[in-house]
């Protein structure tokens, strides 16, 4: 029978597991916690030594949670989720992985760049004088501004619309590709651990 001490030990493990699984949807966390709780309770019923061995073989709650989160939630994200979900997943792992941190940051920047180009394409027909690409002797600037630079001339005219759409689309596609690349790399890293 499960003793009170064993029960406390199991509960503590499950609490830490639940905490470490925060990245997963609520229902999935509870399902995983119930299953591991059931597993540990069955092992405890076989004896104290069996409970200790089972905990050793599961690994720490953090390590077990990492296996779940990185392998399976990311697997789901890489295959099915929108770029937004994937970006959030990868940024969320940024605190633990340098690859996730810089990959997520780069993808986020590319999305911002894509958004800026889209804004330029939309704004040009509305406020033509304030949107453009200006070339001076030593400078080049492109965008939306209240006061276009003085000693320079605008070079693109309405061509800025297709140019922005193409550049924006390239940034957008590049961001998506980068996300999936980073996602797959993280996935390859998070493969389940097998008995030593």
């Amino acid at each position: 029978m499960t003793t009170r001490e064993n029960e406390q030990e199991i509960d503590a493990y499950i609490r830490r597991l639940l905490w470490a699984l925060q990245a997963l949807p609520h229902d999935e966390r509870l399902g995983i916690a119930s299953e591991i709780h059931s597993h540990l309770s069955d092992c405890a019923a076989r004896g104290d030594a069996d409970l200790d061995r089972a905990m050793g073989k599961l690994g720490s709650p953090d390590a077990l949670a990492r296996s779940y989160v990185e392998e399976y939630e990311l697997a789901g994200a890489v295959n099915r989720s929108s770029p937004a979900t994937l970006l959030l997943n990868i940024l969320n792992r940024g605190t633990r992985s340098v690859l996730a941190f810089f990959g997520g940051l780069a993808a986020l920047s590319l999305y911002l760049v894509a958004g800026s180009f889209a804004l330029i394409a939309v704004a040009k027909p509305i406020v033509p004088a304030k949107v453009g690409a200006w070339k001076g002797a030593h400078e080049f600037s492109m965008g939306i501004t209240d006061a276009p630079p003085g000693e320079v001339h605008e070079i693109l005219g309405y061509w800025i619309i297709p140019v922005s759409i193409v550049l924006g689309a390239i940034s957008f596609v590049a961001a998506g590709k980068l996300l999936r690349l980073v996602g797959r790399r993280l996935l390859a890293r998070g493969k389940p651990r097998i008995a030593p």
């Binding site: 690994g59 296996s67 779940y68 008995a195």
Partner: protein, 106 residues
């Protein structure tokens, strides 16, 4: 040390087939799967099994149901889906071919 990592690579590749094979002989819950898969030696570890089950279930290869066990401890029982049966069949074929090749070599 090198031998250990080679051995764990071998196990890693075989774990999925081992788990599917166990389920091929009937519905089972996690601890039962571990007991059966490890009958002949350490093959599948607890920490690798449960995330693997979640992934196989998400991929539609296995299905699950909860049932109250003895002592009121609820257990999650897994069984192969049709897709899982088909995958197991294909993996078995590949495994047999692989084993025959290695038997000739080694």
């Amino acid at each position: 040390m090198e031998l250990n990592s080679w051995q764990s690579q071998l196990r890693k590749g075989a774990t999925e087939l081992a788990v599917l094979s166990v389920l091929g002989s009937g519905e089972a819950y996690g601890l039962e799967i571990l007991d059966r898969a490890n009958k002949a030696g350490e093959m599948v570890s607890d920490g690798a099994l449960y995330p693997l089950l979640t992934r196989l279930e998400k991929a539609g290869k296995i299905a699950s149901r909860w049932e109250a066990g003895e002592g009121g401890n609820p257990r999650k029982y897994y069984r192969l889906t049709e897709e899982g049966e088909a995958l197991l069949g294909e993996m078995r074929q590949l495994w047999r071919g692989f084993r025959a090749m290695m038997d000739i070599l080694v």
